[in-house]
C-alpha cells in the first residue's frame, strides 16, 4: 500500500470522480463500491502507523491501524454501505458528493495518528455534512445549516487552539491518551464535547438533524457523534469528569424525547441519551467500560440508523414525520414498521439485539466499579428509552388511531438498507463474539446469563407498563403545530432579542444625541446669523460720514488719553 494512503483518500477521489459520471446505475455503483475500496486500504494490515510525514518538525501519521481505529473503520464503512443503499434514489449530486466527503472525513479522523490530521478531518466532517442540511433547499434549512456550521467550525477552532497549546507544552502532536491538566487538554476536551453533544453544547444536534433531507438525517446520525465518542475514547479514557457529564447527558434529553412531536427530533434526543452511556463508559475507564463504550457506539450506529431510516421512509412517503399527523400505517408499511420495532427493541437493550450486548458492558462496568448511583441512572435511562423510543415511536406511526394517511410501503432499496442494518442489529445481538473479539481490551464477558436476561426483560416489561399507565392518563397526546424550547432559545431568541433591544437602545441614544447636537448647532448658527446675516448688526453697511465721525472720536479719545 502506498505510504500516503488513508481510507479518506479513496472517498475524496470517489467524490471528485462522481460528478463526471452521469446519473444512473454507474454512479450508484461507484457510491456502493467506495466503502469496499475504503476497507481494502486497511483490511488485514498489521497494527502500526502508515503514511508518516515530517511536517515542520511535527510527526504526521495519516493512518494508524490499531484495534480501536480498525473497529471504528469497519463500523463506519459498513454504515456508509447501509446509507448508500438507502440513498439509492437520490439524484442530487450535492448530496452524493457531501455524503462521500463526510464519511471519508470521518474515516480519515478515525485513522489519524496525530492531532493535526485529526483537526483537518474534524473540520472536513463539519463542512461536508452541512450540505446534507442545505440540500433541503428551504429558508429554514439554510438557517439551521448556518447555525450547525458555526457550532461545528467553532468546535474545530477550539480544537486547533488546544492542539497549538498542546504542541507548545509537549513538543508533540501525537493523538494519544491525555490528562486534563492544562488549558490545552481542556480545550481539546471542549472541542470533542461539542461534537459529542455534551449537555448545553448539544443544541446543534436537535436543531440540525431534523432539518436535513430524508437521507441526510440518516447519514448525519451515523458519523459525527460517533467520531466524537471515538476521539474521547482515544484521548480521555478514565477521565472522571466524563462520568458526571455522561450522567447528565443520559438524563437531560429524556424529558424532551418523551414529549417532542417531531419524531426525527425524538430520535436525536434518544441518540443524545445513548451517547451519555458511552461517555459514562469512557469516564469509568476500566477495560470493560471502554469496551462497552466502544461496542455501544458501534451498535448504536446501526440501531439508530434503523430508526432514522424507518421514520425517514415514512417521511419520504407521507411528507411528515410528526407524531400528531401519523398513525395506523402498519398495514400499509408493514416492513418499515417491523424494522422500526427492531430498532426500538435494540435501544431498549432487549435480549437478541446489539443494544443488549453492548449496553450490558457499560452497566456491568458501573456495577463492578461499585458506582451504584451511576448504575441506577443508567437503568432509569434504559427504562425511559423503552417509553420514548421503543414503544412510542412505532406506536404513534404504525399503530394507534388512523389519521387518514395512506402511503405505499417504502421503496425496495430503503427496505434493503433497513434489512442490512437489522441483520447487523440482530446478528450481533444473538452472536456477539465477533464484535467482542474486535474490541481493543481483552476482557471475557458473557451477556447472556439467566440473571441478566430476566432482570432486563423485567425492566422492559415494567417500562412498558409505565407507558400504558401514562397513556391512560392521556400523557401521549401531543399538541400539533407546536415546538418545545430547548436551551438553544438562549442564542436563537434571548440573544437575538437582547441584541435587538441593544441595537434599538443604541439607535435611540444616537438619535437623541444627534437631535441635541443639532438643536445646539441651530441655536449657535442662528446666533451667528443674527449678527452676521444680511440683517445682522455686523453685516450692516455704515454711512461714510458716521465712519469718519467714529474715527475722529477714536483718534480724539486716543489723543486725550495720551496727554492725560
Amino acid at each position: 500500500m502506498p505510504e500516503f494512503m488513508t481510507p479518506a483518500l479513496v472517498y475524496v477521489v470517489a467524490a471528485l470522480t462522481l460528478p463526471l459520471v452521469p446519473h444512473g446505475r454507474w454512479r450508484q455503483i461507484l457510491i456502493i463500491l467506495t466503502p469496499f475500496a475504503g476497507v481494502a486500504v486497511f483490511w488485514g494490515l498489521p497494527h502500526g502507523t502508515y503514511g508518516n510525514i515530517n511536517l515542520m518538525g511535527m510527526h504526521i501519521g495519516l493512518m494508524r491501524v490499531d484495534a480501536l481505529s480498525y473497529l471504528f473503520g469497519l463500523g463506519f464503512s459498513l454504515a456508509v454501505l447501509v446509507v448508500a443503499v438507502y440513498a439509492w434514489h437520490v439524484r442530487d449530486t450535492i448530496q452524493q458528493v457531501a455524503m462521500l466527503l463526510y464519511a471519508g472525513s470521518a474515516l480519515g479522523a478515525v485513522f489519524a495518528a496525530d492531532l493535526v490530521t485529526l483537526f483537518i478531518f474534524w473540520e472536513g466532517t463539519a463542512i461536508a455534512s452541512v450540505f446534507l442540511i442545505w440540500a433541503r433547499r428551504t429558508e429554514g434549512a439554510y438557517a439551521a445549516g448556518m447555525r450547525y456550521l458555526i457550532v461545528q467550525i467553532g468546535s474545530g477552532v477550539i480544537l486547533l487552539a488546544g492542539i497549538i497549546l498542546f504542541y507548545r507544552e509537549t513538543g508533540t502532536v501525537a493523538f494519544r491518551a491525555m490528562e486534563l491538566q492544562s488549558a490545552a487538554t481542556w480545550a481539546i476536551l471542549l472541542a470533542f464535547g461539542i461534537k459529542c453533544a455534551f449537555p448545553l453544547l448539544h443544541n446543534w444536534l436537535h436543531d440540525a438533524y431534523p432539518a436535513a433531507t430524508v437521507t441526510g438525517t440518516v447519514i448525519l446520525s451515523a458519523f459525527t457523534t460517533k467520531l466524537a465518542i471515538y476521539a474521547l475514547a482515544r484521548g480521555f479514557p478514565g477521565t472522571e469528569i466524563l462520568i458526571y457529564i455522561g450522567i447528565a447527558m443520559v438524563l437531560f434529553p429524556i424529558a424532551y424525547a418523551l414529549v417532542e412531536n417531531e419524531l426525527r427530533r425524538v430520535l436525536t434526543y434518544a441518540l443524545n441519551s445513548q451517547l451519555g452511556f458511552m461517555v459514562v463508559g469512557i469516564g469509568i475507564g476500566t477495560p470493560l467500560a471502554l469496551n462497552g463504550a466502544i461496542a455501544h457506539a458501534l451498535s448504536s450506529i446501526f440501531y439508530q440508523a434503523l430508526l432514522f431510516m424507518s421514520i425517514g421512509a415514512v417521511l419520504f412517503r407521507t411528507g411528515t414525520s410528526k407524531a400528531s399527523d401519523l398513525g395506523g400505517l402498519a398495514r400499509q408499511m408493514p416492513w418499515t414498521a417491523l424494522f422500526c420495532i427492531v430498532g426500538g427493541l435494540s435501544i431498549a437493550a432487549l435480549p437478541a439485539t446489539t443494544g443488549f450486548v453492548s449496553k450490558s458492558l457499560v452497566l456491568s462496568a458501573a456495577g463492578y466499579g461499585g458506582l451504584y448511583l451511576v448504575w441506577l441512572v443508567l437503568i432509569a435511562a434504559n427504562a425511559a428509552a423503552v417509553l420514548h423510543t421503543s414503544i412510542r415511536v412505532p406506536l404513534s406511526v404504525f399503530f394507534g388511531p388512523d389519521r387518514g394517511v395512506r402511503a405505499k410501503e417504502a421503496p425496495s432499496h430503503m427496505l434493503v438498507a433497513m434489512t442490512l442494518a437489522a441483520a447487523v442489529t440482530i446478528g450481533i445481538g444473538i452472536y456477539p463474539d465477533p464484535l467482542y473479539a474486535l474490541l481493543p481490551n481483552d476482557v471475557t464477558y458473557e451477556p447472556y446469563t439467566l440473571s441478566h436476561l430476566i432482570t432486563q426483560l423485567q425492566l422492559v416489561l415494567f417500562a412498558a407498563l409505565a407507558f400504558a399507565l401514562l397513556a391512560r392518563a392521556g400523557f401521549w397526546s401531543t399538541p400539533r403545530h407546536a415546538i418545545l424550547l430547548d436551551t438553544d432559545w438562549l442564542y436563537r431568541h434571548l440573544l437575538s432579542a437582547g441584541l435587538g433591544r441593544l441595537s434599538a437602545f443604541v439607535t435611540a441614544l444616537w438619535r437623541w444625541t444627534s437631535l441635541l447636537i443639532q438643536r445646539r448647532l441651530n441655536v449657535f448658527l442662528s446666533g451667528i446669523y443674527r449678527t452676521h446675516g444680511p440683517q445682522g448688526v455686523l453685516a450692516r453697511t455704515w454711512p461714510t460720514g458716521s465712519m469718519v465721525l467714529w474715527i475722529a472720536i477714536l483718534l480724539g479719545t486716543t489723543l486725550v488719553l495720551t496727554y492725560v
Binding site: A141, S321, A380, A466
Partner: protein, 90 residues
C-alpha cells in the same frame, strides 16, 4: 387484540417476571438488586417520574411552531422534491 387485552397480557407478564425472581439465583452487583422485582419496580418508578418531569417541561416550554420562523424548519412543509409520495391502494 384490543388494548384492554393487551394491558391484561402485559400485567400478566409483569407479574410473571417478578415471580421469576424467586425461581433463580440472582447475580446482582449491589445488595438492593436482590429485592424481588427491583429492576422492574425501579423502571416503573423511573418511567412515571421522568414522564411527570416531561409533562412539566411540556407545559413550560411549548410554543407555536412558527416561534422561530422563518429561521427554522418546524413550520415548513418538507420540500416535495425530496419526497416520493405514493398513496397506498388501501
Amino acid at each position: 387484540m384490543t388494548s384492554r387485552n393487551g394491558i391484561a397480557l402485559l400485567v400478566a407478564l409483569v407479574v410473571a417476571s417478578v415471580l421469576a425472581d424467586f425461581a433463580y439465583d440472582k447475580h446482582g452487583y449491589f445488595a438492593f438488586e436482590h429485592l424481588p422485582g427491583f429492576h422492574g419496580l425501579f423502571a416503573l418508578a423511573a418511567g412515571i417520574v421522568l414522564g411527570l418531569v416531561a409533562l412539566g417541561l411540556r407545559a413550560l416550554l411549548t410554543r407555536d411552531a412558527n416561534y422561530y420562523a422563518p429561521a427554522s424548519t418546524d413550520a415548513e412543509e418538507h420540500p416535495a422534491a425530496d419526497l416520493e409520495r405514493e398513496k397506498a391502494d388501501a
